[in-house]
Symmetry: C2
Subunit: 352 residues, 2 copies
C-alpha cells in the first residue's frame, strides 16, 4: 500500500522532508497547517510524500512553539476497579471528541507529587482525578494545583473541601436502599464494608442513618457491622468472609447492604454456602449496578451510579474552568443515583 520502501532511517524533520519532496521547508509547513495560497497540485504532492515516507512533524517542536497543548491529565486510583475504568473510558472518549489528548497515569501513594509534576511539565490544561485516594496527599496536590492555576476536577472522592468535585450522591443511594428494604419488612441490617469514615454527608453511612431515623429505627440496634473481624478489601472474597461471620450469629440481620457489587455477590455466595436462602431468609444489595448483577442467582438489587451523567458533568466542570479566572469557591456537583430492584430483595419479611 502506502509504505513500500524501507528507509534505513526515517525522516525526522520538516527540512529533511522538504528536501526529499523538492520544496522549501516553509512551503511544506504551510501545507501542513492548511494555510491558503497554495496550488492544489503542490498540496497533493506533499500529502503523497507524507504517505510514502510516513513522515510526521515532531509534536514536541510543534507544542513548544504553539500556544495550546490540547492535553488533559487523567489520574486514576487504579486500572482494576471496573467502575473507575468505565469512567476513564467515557472520559477519554469525551475528550477525544473535543480534540483533547489524554495522558493517563495511575496514582501511586507517595509518588503523586512526581506524577502531577509530570503532568505540569507536559503543560496539561487540566487534570482529572478518578477514584478514591489518600485524602491528605490528594488535598496537597489540589492545593498545589490551585496555587498553580491549573484547572481540575475530582470524580468520586468527595472529602477535599478545596477541590472541585463531582460525585454520585451515595447517601441518596443508601436512603433509597433502606427505604426499599424497610418497605419489604426488614428491620435489621448487616453492613458489609460500609464505614463511617466514608465521606461525610454524601457518604453511605450518613444516608443509612438518615433513612433509619426517618423510620424511627434506632441505628445502634438495627445496624450491625463485622468489618473489624477481617482485613478490609473490596472484592468478592471479603464479602464471602463477612457473610460467613454473619451466618454464625444467632440473631443475624435479615438484610445486608454491601459497599459494592463484588462484596454483595461474595456475600450472597457466603450466605448460600451456609444454607441461607436469598431472598427468602436474607436480602442483599450491592452498589454500582454492574452487568453481572443481572446474572447472579438470585439477580442482585443494586444502585446505578449514572456514570455517563457523572462524566458529562465532570467534563462540563472542567472545561468551564479552562481559560477562565480561577474560581474562589470550590464547586461540588452531585449526581442522583438510581436504585435497580432485582430478585435479591424481592421477598417481604413478615412483621415481627
Amino acid at each position: 500500500m502506502a509504505a513500500k520502501k524501507k528507509p534505513a532511517r526515517p525522516i525526522t524533520s520538516t527540512a529533511e522532508f522538504a528536501r526529499h519532496v523538492g520544496l522549501a521547508r516553509t512551503t511544506v509547513s504551510r501545507v501542513l497547517n492548511g494555510q491558503p495560497g497554495l496550488k492544489p497540485k503542490t498540496i497533493e504532492r506533499v500529502q503523497r510524500a507524507m504517505d510514502e515516507t510516513g513522515f510526521t512533524p515532531n509534536a514536541y517542536a510543534v507544542r513548544l512553539k504553539g500556544k495550546s497543548t490540547a492535553t488533559v491529565g487523567i489520574c486514576m486510583e487504579d486500572l482494576l476497579t471496573p467502575t473507575a475504568v468505565k469512567k476513564l473510558s467515557a472520559l477519554q472518549r469525551a475528550f477525544r471528541m473535543k480534540h483533547y489528548t489524554s495522558l493517563i497515569e495511575v496514582f501511586e501513594p507517595g509518588q503523586s507529587r512526581q506524577l502531577i509534576r509530570h503532568f505540569l511539565s507536559m503543560r496539561v490544561e487540566a487534570i482529572v482525578f478518578i477514584g478514591h485516594f489518600p485524602a491528605e496527599e490528594l488535598a496537597q496536590r489540589i492545593d498545589e494545583l490551585n496555587a498553580h492555576g491549573t484547572p481540575h476536577v475530582v470524580i468520586d472522592h468527595v472529602d477535599i473541601p478545596s477541590a472541585h468535585r463531582v460525585t454520585v450522591d451515595r447517601a441518596r443511594g443508601m436512603i433509597d436502599v433502606v427505604n426499599h428494604l424497610v418497605a419489604r419488612g426488614h428491620r435489621s441490617f448487616g453492613l458489609l464494608g460500609i464505614s463511617a469514615w466514608l465521606h461525610g454527608k454524601l457518604g453511605r453511612m450518613h444516608g443509612i442513618m438518615q433513612a433509619l431515623a426517618a423510620h424511627k429505627l434506632p441505628f445502634a440496634q438495627c445496624a450491625r457491622s463485622l468489618d473489624h473481624l477481617h482485613v478490609r478489601r473490596n472484592d468478592f472474597e471479603f464479602g464471602k468472609t463477612l457473610a460467613a461471620s454473619f451466618a454464625t450469629l444467632p440473631d443475624r440481620p435479615t438484610a445486608y447492604l454491601a459497599l459494592n457489587d463484588e462484596i454483595a455477590i461474595g456475600a450472597m455466595h457466603g450466605l448460600q454456602a451456609a444454607g441461607i436462602d436469598i431472598p427468602g431468609e436474607a436480602a442483599v444489595t450491592g452498589f454500582n449496578n454492574q452487568e453481572i448483577c443481572a446474572m447472579t442467582r438470585p439477580t442482585l438489587t443494586s444502585v446505578d451510579q449514572q456514570i455517563d451523567e457523572t462524566i458529562r458533568v465532570g467534563t462540563e466542570v472542567l472545561l468551564g474552568q479552562i481559560g477562565q479566572p480561577p474560581r474562589t469557591k470550590a464547586i461540588l456537583r452531585t449526581i442522583d443515583p438510581k436504585l435497580i430492584i432485582r430478585q435479591s430483595t424481592d421477598f417481604t419479611v413478615a412483621a415481627r
Copy 2:
C-alpha cells in the same frame, strides 16, 4: 505546605525561574540535570524555589533537545473488556518500572492511521497493541511501522503474519477443556460464540477440533453452534440468549464451551432459567478465569490466560527490539494457559 502564594501567572521557563531564584539559567539547568561541581547550598536553594513556585521544566523543550523520549504507545481495542484492561494495567506498571511513559489510546476503526501518526509524532520508541482489531486495518498499520522502523508487539491478536505477536495459546486451552469434559463422559458439545474465523492454528476452534479428533469423536456430529441465530456480542446477554435457544433443542448437548466468562455465565443463567441443572444436566466452561468465576452458582470452570506471564513476555519482545536493527522474521511467542476446574463441570455423565 509548599505552595502558599498565588502567582497570577505560573513561571513557565527556566530563564524566568532563574531570575526569580537569583541564579543564572545555566546554573539552574545544571542543578536540574544533576551535573557535578555545584555547591550543596546552591542545589538546595533551587530545590526550595521549585517547591515554592511549582515550576516544572517544559517537557516539550526537553524532549525536543534530548535524544530519547522514553515513551511507548499503547493501543487498546477498548477500555471495557476486563481482561484487556488488566493487561493494560500490568503493562503500564511494567513500563513505569523501566521509567518509560505510556501513551494510552483506543483504536477506532477507520481512525487508526491518525492514531499511529499521533504516536509517531510523539516519537514513541515502540507501540503495543492489546486486543482484537479489524485484521486488514491492523495489518496495514503494522506494515507501516515496519517500514518506519518502529518496534511493536501485538498482544492477543494473532493473525497478522508480519507482526511480532504474543498470545495465549487458545487452542491449547480448548484442548484442555475438551479433554476434561470427555473424561467426564461428555460426548456432545455446544459452542457459544466460538467460530472458525478465530485465528487459525492458535484459535479456539482449531483446538476443539484437534482434541475431538484425538478422541475419535467426529466434529460434525458432536459439536454444534447456534451463533447464527443471534446478533453476535461478547456479553452476558448473548450467552443467555444462546442458552435459551439450546434449551429448546430435543437433543441438546450436555456440555457448553463459551468464548469467555461473560458468555458462560450468561449461558448458565439461561440454562438454569429453563430448568436445566448445572452441572447435573449440563456442563459449562468459560475462558479468562475472571474473579467472578469463583462466585457464581455453580462456580465456573474456566481457562486462565496467565496475564502476568503474557505481559512479561510482551515487554521482553518489545524492549528487545529497541535499539536493535529491525528483525527480518516476525516473532510469535505463545503462552500456555491453565485450566481451572470448578463446580460447573464437576459431574460425570453416564456413558450412553
